[in-house]
């Protein structure tokens, strides 16, 4: 057994020049080859790369897509994100369990199937969904399951299944992202200017980062450009892992040229020769087409050496595939991951624009930001700045899912109110709207007049709608559970705090909470928010903090005061072992 993989691991590593910087790719290749990566293989790989074993194991063990034990021939990853469960993912899950005779986390005896759960895979608009052998299946129904299983057993390819179809679901096209582009137009305009002038044009547009934080793009590029270093990098963050976000899926499917054009322009502006697109592992199925587009752009002279005939401008793009870790959407964690390490966020300063990828100045920009940049160079910063509001220019791609008639992606002008948005997507009797994903804000009806914008309600694009019949607090609880799973474990407030929060929240939801528990819940949430090291931890208490006041009634309903007695203590249960061990009968208890 040992010999047969030793040689192959050596070959895979040498394909990447035995460079530890490509550890993600090497691990992906090993998993594609063997289906998993065992401790032995890890030691072996560490030998080949001349690294300490713990360093390799540290990295491998971090990612959901690098299993360390053999999985079945077919790996079914059913998405259990909040919206998916609202749309019946649990019933589909039960159907899978019944059809396969195993529970989640298990593999069938014949090693044909492994059944797993996965957080949001960017298909909330066509839920319930699953990845089977990395191919997405959508709009699943429990009745579909037996057929899916029998066809897989018959050796049929997953992509031939009728459910293996991702709908585009682009419901509203705006003028910035969803407009046609003649490849190279924007880039040629940029190359006719000095890099500083390109940044000036972006500055004129007042473009801000689309990932959610809203940092001015021109300022970021300017910082990066001004660093004294011969090498700089441009990274496109295509790791949209925020539950309920799928706008990048649509952009990368429909407008990849625009993204790559934006990346090339950014590369020119900051003075980078290399661009990396960090694509989330869940979107591996988009990889083939993206590579094709890159090849086409190289062929057209829009990428590679001497771009558009310019002797002094070389720039190329590689796609780095992630491996299923939410925290890698955070830019410094993303950089760590792209360097082939575990995706733990870095301390800052230094910021990535100072010391980023491989320690060099790096600009990390969202997919959508780069699209905007390309469009600005095509149509001018002046034109762009007239769209949207004063502090939020341009449009925003929103991923709308949940209780509405038309879930999908909408490109809307910044400044749209929640009320107007709900009308647009056909939502009625809305109890609450989750703006900005699990880490965002739960907005109550009294605030539906608020606007999607950096100055009011910022969002990376996720809009989840909860109808009046939903158990809102259960949905919030599922967000909290999600953060327990995704915490990288580096700092105590987040690692321990998210778990404490989850336990206390569960107690309250189970009707075992007292007024004291509610105060404790608030205190833990506040500690997690203020003491955590990175954005994940700092926002992980938001599902609680943004509902505990605006939806105070829902919490109050769950609280029963029992005159100081704690409902979490069950005396009968605590006595059970003692009674059984001593062989007493009920009557034998005083």
């Amino acid at each position: 057994m040992t010999h047969h993989y030793r040689e192959q691991i050596k070959n895979i590593a040498s394909k990447y020049g035995n460079d530890r910087g490509y550890l993600m790719n090497i691990a992906h290749d090993i998993v594609n080859e063997f289906g998993y990566i065992s401790d032995e293989m890890v030691s072996n790989l560490a030998d080949v790369l001349n690294l300490p074993v713990v360093q390799v194991r540290d990295m491998i063990s971090f990612y959901a897509f690098f299993p360390r034990k053999p999985l079945g021939k077919n790996v079914i990853r059913l998405c259990n994100a909040v919206i998916e469960r609202m749309k019946g993912a649990d019933e589909v899950g039960k159907a899978f369990e019944k059809a396969l005779g195993i529970s989640f986390g298990e593999t069938t005896k014949d090693n044909l199937f492994t059944l797993l759960h996965t957080p949001c895979i960017g298909l909330s608009d066509q839920a319930p969904s699953a990845l089977i052998n990395k191919i997405p299946l959508t709009n699943l129904k429990p009745a579909d399951v037996p057929q899916i299983i029998s066809e897989l057993k018959a050796g049929k390819d997953v992509s031939d299944l009728p459910q293996a179809r991702v709908q585009l679901n682009l419901k509203k096209e705006g003028e910035v992202i969803c407009a046609p582009l003649d490849s190279g137009t924007a880039l040629r305009n940029a190359l006719n200017m000095k890099p500083e002038e390109v940044i000036g044009e972006i500055n004129k547009s007042r473009l801000r980062g689309r990932g959610g934080a809203g940092f001015p793009t021109a300022m970021k590029w300017d910082f990066c450009r001004k660093q004294k270093s011969p090498i700089r990098y441009l990274i496109c963050n295509a790791d949209e892992g925020e539950p309920g976000t799928f706008k990048d899926r649509v952009i990368l499917t429909e407008y990849p040229d625009l993204v790559f054009e934006g990346m090339t322009i950014a590369g020119y502006a900051i003075g980078a020769k290399e661009g990396i697109m960090y694509l989330r592992g869940e979107y591996a199925y988009l990889l083939e087409n993206l590579e094709k587009v890159l090849a086409k752009r190289r062929h057209l002279g829009l990428l590679g050496e001497h771009i558009c005939g310019r002797e002094d401008f070389n720039f190329d793009i590689r796609i780095q595939l992630g491996a299923g870790a939410y925290v890698c959407g955070e830019e410094s964690a993303l950089i760590e991951s792209a360097e082939g390490k575990r995706g733990a966020p870095r301390d800052r300063p230094p910021f990535p624009v100072q010391k980023g990828y491989k320690g060099e100045p790096t600009s990390v920009n969202n997919v959508e930001t780069l699209c905007c940049a390309a469009r600005i160079l095509e149509k001018g910063g002046e034109w762009f700045s007239k769209i949207g509001t004063k502090d939020s220019t341009g449009t925003k791609m929103l991923s709308v899912s949940g209780d509405c008639e038309h879930p999908g992606v909408y490109e809307v002008e910044y400044g749209i109110t929640i009320e107007n948005l709900l009308e647009l997507v056909g939502a009625k009797d809305t109890q609450a709207v989750q703006v900005g994903g699990a880490s965002g804000k739960c907005v109550a009806p009294k605030d539906f007049g608020r606007r999607i914008s950096f100055e009011d309600l910022p969002t990376g694009g996720s809009i989840m709608i909860f109808g009046k019949n939903r158990d809102l607090l259960e949905c919030m609880y599922q967000f909290v559970e999600f953060f327990v799973e995704e915490s990288c474990g580096w700092c105590v407030p987040c690692r321990a705090g998210t778990t404490l929060l989850e336990k206390k929240f569960r107690q309250i939801l189970d009707g075992k909470g007292t007024a004291q528990s509610l105060a404790e819940l608030r205190r833990i949430a506040q500690t997690v928010k203020s003491m955590s090291r990175c954005g994940l931890g700092q926002t992980s208490a938001n599902p609680v903090l943004t509902t505990i006041y605006d939806f105070a009634d829902l919490y109050a309903e769950k609280i029963k005061e029992e005159n100081g007695k704690l409902l979490t203590f069950d005396l009968q249960k605590a006595m059970k072992v003692g009674i059984e061990a001593s062989g007493r009968t009920k009557e034998g208890v005083k």
Binding site: K573, V577, G578, S582, K590
Partner: protein
């Protein structure tokens, strides 16, 4: 004006905290002037006879009797103060929490080296003996506790200062020496 009423209880522990209460020495005469004692091992009053202002509890909760009395204290006392390591964390008795209860009992009564001969042991099952709980619980996991005084035991001065502050409704300031444990 009637005097504030105090009750005390001892659960699973060593009675050291009650000893520490008695350690207030001659101040016990002042205390008797200040307050009235109700149910307590100190005066051997077995049952509550009136509503209590301050309940002081020592020890962790290891059996059904402990739990029931603690709940009774919660019912009768306006304020509950847990004192000492066992009440706050389970303390030394909670070391048994590392071993499942069934194994503990079997080792003690059936298989241990001090059991006379094989197959003669029996796990005590008289109805008068309280039933051991699956683990030793700190008091605040059973009922709501209003104040905690750490220490093993908290010193007489700590208890005295806390009690006086509570009775006078003043903030509690404890000197560093009183809350330093190493």
């Amino acid at each position: 004006m009637s005097k504030p009423v105090i009750a005390t209880a001892h659960f699973t522990g060593c009675f050291g905290c009650h000893m520490s209460i008695l350690d207030i020495d001659e101040r016990i005469l002042d205390l008797v002037e200040l307050v009235e004692f109700n149910k307590s091992p100190i005066n051997d009053i077995k049952n509550f006879t009136k509503p209590v202002d301050i309940g002081i509890i020592e020890g962790g909760i290891s059996n059904d009797e402990n739990a029931e009395i603690l709940m009774e204290f919660r019912k009768h006392c306006k304020i509950l103060v847990a004192i000492g390591a066992c009440a706050l964390t389970g303390g030394v008795p909670s070391m048994r929490n590392l071993v499942p209860l069934k194994e503990c009992l079997e080792e003690a009564y059936l298989n241990g080296p001090t059991v006379k001969s094989e197959n003669t042991g029996i796990i005590p099952n008289d109805p008068d003996i309280p039933v051991l709980l699956d683990r030793v619980y700190p008091c605040h996991e059973v009922v709501k506790i209003d104040y905690f005084l750490p220490g093993c035991p908290p010193s007489a001065d700590t208890i005295w200062n806390a009690l006086v502050a509570l009775l006078k409704g003043e903030p509690l300031n404890l000197d560093y020496e009183l809350i330093k444990y190493d």
